[in-house]
Symmetry: C2
Subunit: 199 residues, 2 copies
DNA sequence: CATCATAGCGACGCTGAGTTGCCAAGTTGC
DNA sequence: GCAACTTGGCAACTCAGCGTCGCTATGATG
């Protein structure tokens, strides 16, 4: 155990782990997923590339850990917003507002970017993350169901998919900053999607 | 020039090229972009892996060629639809209809899948293809501008981005078949996005 | 028929992920 | 306080996949 810079080994390990995930995040923000190389991660932390395998079994696991750390709190909050009280359309709009804020926070730029590109990530990562997302997906679906409860001709699953598309597009836009216009257009788009609709 | 199975060399080359792009397409459909390996492409065509470099400088160029072949006609048609006559909202709806039909054609499943995820493809591919897409993007933007011409408070760029998101989400849904409901929900979503809006 | 152009291929080099065995430095039990 | 144990770190290795190079065989060209 060479070079320990913390009171205890356990603590040292925690710090290193944090530093590694920080490096992963910043590289993801700068280079994107395809530009993420373990050698670069190690270099930023001051570790040999192979030492990273003490903290994760695979490169993708490192990314998954980082996603968990980055998304965990925001997802919990989003779930709370969706599960709150008030008209479902308002809750959805509030959720979207939160998404935009999250995407706009510079520190979480990488997170937002990956969220927007989720479909393109390698299968294993999707699989690793999808479980963490399930509660949020369920909350979203439930809220859309509720919003459309008295509109039997609407198709909640499709509406949910379209809201998803809007949210993804808006999130991408928000990476460059959240303007009032963006907030308004997005909110109107979602609310319109719920209220508009067919016969 | 060993083993030629066509009247002329030129023709032989064309056939090989077609066969290679076919192989690229089928592998893309089966394995996705990340699962595309030149060795597999070569094997399907009956060529050594390295021989593929006679037809493209890089792996990504092969993908770009395939995209061009796959999207070219559909893009031209989409451009024509958008540039047609009638209310701009109707033209956008018609364009979306075409997108859904295209995505639902089994033979073009891989193309539709990649189109839906275009934004998430690796940078080099985007760069290679983006030029081919520009006319369509321009036509889309122009149509949205036209649709919002008498609504000075709206933001055409943002609306376009959101329509994009809806189109992508709908295209993904359409890969599993186009139901009347999907068609209706999608159309309403886009039209609502144009007509709804702020103050 | 001599020359040229080029499809195809095998050998090679490079990069980046993952494995293995060793060492050094904390931790633990007596 | 020392011996046994644990574990972070690392260098050397393997492996997969992309791209390059030089040669050969064969069709085109005059």
């Amino acid at each position: 155990m060479p070079r320990i810079a913390a009171p205890t080994v356990k603590e040292h390990r925690d710090r290193q782990h944090e530093a590694i995930l920080d490096a992963v995040g910043s590289i993801l923000a700068e280079e994107g997923y395809d530009g993420l190389e373990l050698a670069a991660v190690g270099e930023r932390v001051g570790l040999a590339r192979t030492s990273l395998y003490r903290y994760a079994h695979h490169k993708d696991e490192l990314v998954a850990q980082w996603l968990e750390r980055a998304f965990g709190p925001a997802m919990a909050e989003a779930e709370a917003v969706l599960g709150g009280s008030g008209p479902p359309a308002d809750r959805l709009a509030a959720w979207l507002d939160g998404q935009l804020d999250f995407a706009a926070r510079p520190r979480d730029g990488a997170a937002a970017r990956l969220m927007a590109e989720f479909d393109h990530l390698p299968e294993p990562i999707q699989a690793l993350v999808i479980d963490g997302h399930r509660p949020l997906r369920d909350a979203l679906a439930a809220t859309v169901d509720e919003a459309l409860a008295d509109r039997p001709t609407r198709d909640p699953a499709l509406v949910l998919a379209l809201i998803d598309g809007i949210a993804a597009a808006a999130t991408r836009q928000a990476a460059g900053g959240v303007s009032p216009k963006l907030r308004r257009e997005t909110r109107n788009a979602v609310v319109g999607l719920l209220h508009g609709g067919g016969t």
